[in-house]
Amino acid sequence: MSIAYKPDETFRDDFVYSNSDTAILRFPFPFIEDEYMYSVNIEPHVRGGETGAFEAVFDVDEHYIAECRERAMVLEQDPNRCMVLPHMMTAQWDTLELIMESLAEDYPEDFTLEKDGDAWTWTNRPLGIKDSFVFGDVDSLPLEPFEYITRQAQGDFTLQDQRENNLFMDGGMVTTQADWSLEFDLGMSFHEWHGPVPVAHEINVFDRALQYLLRLQYGNPVRRLNWTMTVNPRLDTSPENYPIWGPDRTTLTPENIGGKLHLRVELQTLFRLPRSNAILFGIRCYLASLDELTRVPKWGRRLHRVLRDLHPEIAEYKGTTRYREMAVDYLSQFDDGEPTSPGIGPDVESL
């Protein structure tokens, strides 16, 4: 089925952004039950499952063209949002191969990869790109391979080198992040870059997750969902730009919160790369307003309960302190106290 792209959407200034019914129904709602706590919520990244967002290796949706344009704008203002350490060149090619092959296989109408030995031709129809290059020859592409391909994908990506029984964030393309900085984290180890996260260290989430990832195997990618909240459908909530988006939080009122406050979900995928043995971490960001989400009755009930009972330290870390009470009050109208079914699925087929 071809995707109805919305090329005129914007993620800044006038915020022209919305989700179609299809997009709402395939939204990867992150709560499997009515309460939320950090855990090692990792599962095999296999096709299918409770949300349409799990159907492809790298999910492409109606926001694709607009998101790629937003990324290009961020990079123009701040080229350091894409950085890869020199020893990660093999991982760059591994990434390019994985993303091109996956997009071409999952979306044959939109992407094509032709190979004749190392002579490859890549066609990206939605963005109007066609390039021929030699796999492995950096000079044959207009940009380094990692930047070249991640400019054509939704969501952020980081590259982790594995050594000394640890993972090091030795590269990334980070323009749609929830308040963390690649420039700051570059070169850090798994526990170092997770330093600011509360609660999870004490319950050993990171020790276990690291042990698991060190054993991640090629051909067996895994995924997890993570979430936070963002005022306005803004993709670039970086620490560098805090002065621009921080004040958005003061603009919320009980009247506008339903349309302005967005649940921000990250579909995180992890792939072992074959030549470099590095790990590619994909952080695919989905935004939906409270008003969009509450059209699914189960999600309205559950979001109300999760936010109401959220662990205070986690609530603060996610930056929700200022408006959480207002959001919970607003959402209470969608919670009739009925029980909810387990799992993340919407339980309805149309809206």
Binding site: S39, V40, N41, I42, E43, P44, V57, H87, D94, E97, E101, S102, E105, G117, D161, Q162, R163, E164, N165, D207, R208, A209, Q211, Y212, R215, Q217, Y218, G219, N220, P221, V222, P274, R275, S276, N277
Partner: protein, 314 residues
């Protein structure tokens, strides 16, 4: 492209290198492109002899887009998978295999790599030498072989940076390994593969000289499986055989007994199950040491049994 096990491969060529060494070239049997095998990766092949099914792991010596190259040694007096490869395997045969798994990758950040191999342990080191040579990385390789195999090994290393490769037709002499390590520049890492005796000698020399542990790497094959054992499920009244290449979780699922799972890698806790009897071999990262020692809990997605049987409370 993401491919899952099993990969269907076809034996495209078999070449005898010596009375005990065979080169096997494997191609895709279904015309699907082959997943990449990076330096240090291995394949676990399912070798079905008329009597027994073997699952043997072999390092990929080279990968070139459309084929994998393996070298298989016939182990003396062996009746196992390697004997099958030497006596029964023919060109054109189909071989199910795992997707290449790499537990012996080249790590970045070394000033120099010292590769030490014994006998057939040359196979992963050949894949290293090729890549290090291509990238212009500094390395030195020492390969210990039998006198009568000198010519074969010299042939194998042809073209992969032979000026850095030394073939010795004997076992290392007393103190030789230590002397070799001593002359390496600071920041060198060791990659070794060979008989246990040789690897122990390298470990000992590295320890004596105070080399950091994470500068010493050895070949490991995937330890997903293990010895077969029995599992009794007390509540559902099932008795299961857990096979060599199967997890306890998979065996329970196959028997149709409901059990939770998520990560399938011993980290999330979803599959935690009460253990009533038996001696578990814990392989997870979820239980703490106290819980492991208590012997009352097990994570069936990765853990196995030391005793012949486990009894689970499901």
């Amino acid at each position: 492209m993401i491919r899952h096990d099993p990969l269907m491969l076809r034996v495209s060529r078999i070449e005898s290198l010596s009375p005990t060494l065979r080169r096997i070239i494997l191609k895709s049997a279904d015309n699907e492109p082959l997943p990449v095998a990076g330096p240090g990766a291995h394949l676990s092949l399912t070798l079905a002899s008329p009597k027994k099914v073997y699952r043997n792991s072999y390092s990929v010596v080279s990968f070139s887009g459309d084929h994998y190259e393996l070298i298989v040694r016939r182990v003396e007096d062996s009746r196992g998978g390697s004997a099958f490869v030497h006596e029964n395997l023919k060109e054109g045969d189909l071989l199910p295999s795992t997707v290449p798994l790499n537990l012996f990758p080249i790590q970045v950040g070394s000033r120099k790599r010292l590769l030490i191999g014994g006998g057939i342990g040359v196979t992963p080191l050949l894949s290293f030498a090729k890549v290090l040579q291509e990238n212009g990385d500094r390395f030195e390789m020492h390969q210990f072989v039998r006198e009568d195999e000198k010519a074969v090994f010299e042939n194998l290393v042809q073209g992969v940076g032979s000026k850095n490769i030394h073939i010795h037709t004997r076992r290392p002499k007393e103190g030789e390994i230590q002397a070799l390590l001593e002359e390496q520049p600071l920041g060198t890492s060791i990659y070794m593969c060979g008989p246990d005796g040789l690897m122990a000698a390298v470990d000992e020399a590295a320890e004596t000289l105070g080399w950091p542990e994470n500068h010493v790497h050895r070949e490991v094959f995937g330890a997903a499986g293990g010895k077969p054992f029995k599992a009794k499920l007390a509540k559902s009244g099932c008795e299961l055989e857990v096979g060599e290449n199967q997890s306890l979780l998979e065996a329970i699922e196959e028997a149709g007994v409901p059990i939770n799972s998520l990560c399938r890698g011993g980290a999330c806790g979803a599959c935690m199950t009460s253990l009533l009897e038996g001696d578990p071999e814990h392989r997870d990262h979820f239980l703490n040491n106290e819980e492991k020692d208590s012997g009352k809990l097990i994570m069936p997605c990765v853990s196995r049994a030391k005793s012949a049987q486990l009894v689970l409370d499901i």
